[in-house]
């Protein structure tokens, strides 16, 4: 499944954990309250954090406070429907890494998603 696919959100909703783990980009799935429910292998490798450690935690406050700002967390909070890509810097294992974030939220979907792909 392509990072830029227009139907990515719908596909993620249906996809199994194994399917997510096969992707070459990071997937973070959040419940409507921001609690982490999905965390694929690619993202886990990037961050150095195992799913067991982070699942069940609140993403914006307990895992990645660096996204608790107007660019990411605020967008999720303000917009009922959201499908936006933005350039960002993640400090993965203390190395600043240029990434593209795709933020997905739909009123009818069960989860919100943050999709992470490395930029050149």
């Amino acid at each position: 499944m392509d990072f830029e696919h227009p139907d990515l959100h719908r596909w993620l909703e249906e996809a199994s954990d194994e399917a997510l783990d096969a992707l070459a980009y990071g997937v973070i799935g959040l419940a409507p309250d921001g609690v982490m429910e999905r965390y694929n292998t690619f993202e886990s490798k990037l961050s150095g954090m195992s799913p067991a450690r982070v699942l069940g935690r609140h993403f914006f406050t307990e895992v990645a406070p660096c996204t608790n700002n107007f660019m990411v967390a605020q967008r999720f909070e303000d917009l009922g429907a959201l499908d936006e890509s933005l350039p960002y810097v993640f400090t993965l294992k203390m190395r600043p890494r240029k990434v593209t974030l795709r933020l997905l939220r739909r009123p009818d979907a069960r989860r919100m998603y943050i999709i992470v792909r490395e930029r050149a």
Binding site: G48, C66, N69, V89, K93, P96
Partner: protein, 434 residues
């Protein structure tokens, strides 16, 4: 599981815990090379420094900081020692960077050089405490401004009905009343008698009851019948259970400041030759008089006055002669007017007299006094003695002159009629409809 496997698993868990710890650290931490290039940084660093960066990336921290701390790079270069502190808790005012940002961003930054190729950077977001500091400073500045030029202040308390309950030395000094003259009496006695003391004190107490405090600036009265311009802050006094029991007043004497303001104001509103109010001052006063009339209905009069044959005075005696006449005319008018009347120069030799609380007969009498006073003037100018007269038109506010323009037109028409009838006389505009 072998010992080695167990050790590796333990190391992985430790590593993960360490990462987790750094991911959650609220301080920005970064390790830089000798030139400022970012080698390692925690997420808080990305969050804080990204706000400063014009690009969605941070390659070199010194580049990112340069617009906000222009001397920083020089400080790094200046440190020739292999190790040492480049800056410690240096405050960096970043300001408004993001549309949704509540407070202007302020950082403190510490840079420590470890060796030629390694600099540690620590930064904290202190926007909130910086904002609190600013607010505290603003309050202090305001407080000082109020205290500036304060000669004295008084503190006294009144009960819920406004009766004075405490009266100390400061109040005695400022107001001139001894405690026994004031205690138990209504505190409106302390407000200048000429300025509706009952209404003003009642409004103050009402305001304080509604919002916990109130502020007022106005005239206060002393025992010896003098008055002073004071700022009063009063707050509700409560008993141990939080029930209001009265009000505490702090009154400051700001007379000197008020006088300076008034002097400036009158300078801007005065005709330099005659000392009369100028056109602008007249327009403002007339508008104010109309507002008062609208609110209270008390009649007032406007008199338009014009020096007769003024052109002839100028032709015979030159402009200095004309000026001398206008100055003498102004003095003569002043002498015939009350303190509350306004005397304004509205044209070359045309003047307006605004008489509050005056009806037609009163206006005609004042105009006639002025006419007679001017007629009897002998203005010495060089070897000459100049005599001259004035014509006056009187109009009372009313249906026929219910606007500033209308009233001026009415008085002007009466003045024109006085000229037409031969000058040196007073003409009354038609009486307002009953």
């Amino acid at each position: 599981m072998s010992d080695v496997d167990a050790l590796v698993a333990q190391l992985e868990r430790d590593n993960e815990a360490l990462l987790d710890f750094l991911y959650l650290c609220p301080l920005a931490i970064a390790q830089l090379d000798g030139e400022g290039g970012v080698e390692m940084m925690n997420p808080a660093g990305a969050r804080i420094f990204m706000t400063l960066s014009a690009e969605p990336e941070i390659t070199n921290l010194l580049d990112v900081l340069a617009p906000f701390a222009p001397t920083l790079r020089a400080s790094v270069a200046d440190l020739t020692a292999t190790a040492g502190t480049i800056c410690e808790n240096q405050r960096i005012e970043v300001g408004q960077r993001a549309p949704g940002q509540a407070l202007p961003l302020v950082l403190t930054l510490t840079l420590i050089k470890l060796n030629a190729t390694k600099i540690m950077a620590v930064a904290a977001d202190v926007s909130r405490s910086a904002a609190q500091e600013r607010a505290a400073q603003a309050t202090e500045v305001r407080f000082r401004a109020v205290l500036d030029g304060v000669r004295d202040y008084a503190i006294f308390a009144v009960d819920l009905a406004g009766r004075v309950e405490t009266w100390n030395k400061s109040a005695e000094r400022l107001f001139g009343y001894a405690a026994e003259e004031v205690l138990g009496r209504d505190h409106s006695m302390l407000l200048a008698r000429t300025h509706q003391p009952r209404e003003r004190s009642a409004a103050l107490l009402q305001g304080a009851t509604a919002q916990g405090w109130a502020e007022d600036e106005g005239w206060w009265g002393r025992k010896e019948s003098t008055r002073f311009w004071g700022n009063c802050v009063l707050s509700v006094a409560e008993d141990a259970d939080g029930r209001p029991v009265g009000f505490t007043h702090i009154v400051r004497d700001l007379t000197r400041r008020k006088r300076n303001e008034d002097a400036l104001r009158s300078l801007a509103h005065t005709d330099p030759l005659t000392g009369a109010t100028n056109r602008r001052g007249f327009d403002e006063a007339l508008a104010a008089e109309f507002r008062r009339w609208g609110a209270e209905g008390e009649p007032f009069c406007l008199i338009m006055l014009d020096a007769d044959h003024f052109k002839r005075v100028n032709d015979l005696h030159g402009h200095p002669g004309g000026d001398a006449v206008l100055v003498a005319l102004a003095h003569a008018c002043r002498d015939q007017l009350r303190e509350c009347d306004l005397f304004a120069r509205v044209g070359g030799e045309e003047f307006a007299l605004l008489l509050p609380a005056t009806d037609r007969p009163g206006g005609r009498a004042a105009a006639e006094r002025v006419r007679v006073a001017v007629e009897s003037l002998r203005v010495a100018h060089g070897a000459d003695t100049i005599r001259f007269t004035v014509s006056l038109g009187v109009a009372q506010v009313g249906p026929a002159g219910a606007t500033p323009e209308g009233l001026v037109a009415l008085a002007d028409a009466a003045l024109y009629e006085a000229k037409r009838r031969g000058r040196n006389r007073v003409v009354l505009a038609p009486a307002p409809d009953p």
